[in-house]
């Protein structure tokens, strides 16, 4: 993939720091240097680079996050079936140990790259960049990145995706957004999954889950769906199609988009180039 642009960021620690280097002498005689740089700036740089690849090849990149077992892989399987030939899909699967999820996707006739993270509880931008080398971006309309099942760690690492989609299954508590605010605040779309089970689980109230999400000052859309029964799937496919169309328009206009994770702390990185400032313009429909 990177042969075409000549980039080489995987050995990336080179140009790490451009702190403003202001000096001041402390009482003890040592020198104090003001740095003001993000602790994940190396990851963020690689993520921005991944995003450039996606934009150049007009690929919409969607990061899927949830607790383990909320139905991410099942949703992808059904999505691939329902989309048929209308959108070309590829999947990067993150998992602690196994190749199982990637195999489930390949069985659907779609390219899938498995990243086994071992002990790491999240994907990072470098892992995704490596995985991209196994894919032909020109043959892809929508790239899904199924993150490691975990509502904490994945929220901190930008992968270069355009959108964050978080699943909350009805077998979990409807107060999950209040318990994991960092994750849910970063979501562009919250999918309440396994809705076919709502009838037997009377303690999950979708409206309550949405209220907890709003209390995080989130304007993200909320869809309720079931990959098993097909309920709500059409609306999800419509969202995907419209996001894919928006990605094409952005590509034509030379724009990009970052997901709702707006580490507002970023604005403090005064010395970093002000790239990718288009995120203010994206729409968050309450449809």
């Amino acid at each position: 993939m990177c042969d075409t642009c000549g980039c080489n960021v995987t050995d990336g620690n080179r140009h790490l720091i451009e702190g403003d280097g202001k000096l001041a002498r402390t009482e003890s005689g040592s020198e104090a240097i003001s740095v003001l740089q993000g602790l994940l700036s190396e990851n963020d740089r690689t993520a921005a680079h991944n995003r450039e690849h996606f934009d150049r090849h007009r690929v919409l990149a969607v990061n899927l996050m949830s607790s383990p077992g909320s139905g991410k892989t099942r949703l992808l399987e059904e999505t691939i079936t329902l989309l048929g030939d209308s959108l070309r899909i590829a999947v990067i699967e993150g998992d602690l140990e196994t190749e199982n999820d990637a195999q489930r996707i390949r069985d659907k006739g779609v390219a899938a790259v498995q990243i086994t993270t071992g002990t790491a509880c999240h994907l990072d931008a470098h892992m995704v960049h490596e995985a991209l080398h196994a894919l032909t971006l020109d043959d892809i309309d929508v790239l899904f990145i199924e993150n490691v099942g975990n509502l904490v760690c994945p929220a901190s690492f930008d992968l270069g995706q355009h959108r964050n989609v978080t699943l909350l299954s009805v077998t979990e508590g409807d107060d999950k957004p209040a318990k994991y605010p960092v994750m849910f605040r970063a979501s562009d779309l919250m999918l309440i999954s396994k809705s076919d089970l709502l009838g037997v689980l009377d303690d999950f109230v979708p409206e309550k889950a949405e209220r907890h999400l709003r209390e995080l000052a989130s304007t993200a859309s909320v869809h309720t769906l079931s990959a098993r029964s097909g309920d709500g799937m059409q609306r999800w496919l419509d969202w995907l199609r419209s996001e894919h169309a928006a990605a094409q328009t952005r590509a034509v206009n030379g724009e990009t988009l970052r997901p709702a994770i707006q580490p507002d702390g970023q604005r403090m990185h005064a010395h970093e180039p002000t790239r990718q400032h288009h995120h203010d313009g994206h729409h968050h429909g309450h449809d």
Binding site: I17, S34, V35, L39, H122, C153, P181, E215, S218
Partner: protein, 118 residues
């Protein structure tokens, strides 16, 4: 537990700066970690001695400042304090707010001792 990964990234940054500044020893590291950063300050502090061992910052004092969560209301323009899972406007209750502080994940400054010239 991604704090070790974050901490290792921190050490890479610190070592780069130390090399650039010709530092013999880093004596103090100041971070700013907000409650909404996704990183637990305590877990990061716990991971720090492991990550710092054998580096130019071994033994350096790690200090972590935490800014309060503050939001600005897009409806009434008031700036109020908020909590991690309740980021509504403290004045009018609207959910359309923008975070002013509380999600920082920053290396603020370093203190170091320079190598003496020969």
């Amino acid at each position: 537990m991604h704090e070790l990964a974050v901490c290792q990234g921190l050490m890479t940054q610190v070592e780069q700066i130390a090399r650039r500044e010709n530092a013999e020893q880093v004596t103090r590291i100041l971070l700013s970690i907000g409650p909404l950063s996704g990183v637990e300050a305590q877990l990061l502090a716990d991971a720090y001695p492991i990550a710092a061992a054998g580096t130019v910052a071994e033994g350096a004092q790690l200090e972590i400042e935490q800014l309060p969560i503050r939001v600005k209301c897009l409806t009434c323009s008031e700036e109020t304090e908020a909590t991690a899972n309740r980021l509504l406007c403290g004045a009018c209750g609207d959910y359309r707010t923008r975070l002013l502080s509380g999600d920082e994940l920053l290396l603020m400054s370093l203190e170091l001792e320079r190598r003496q010239h020969a």
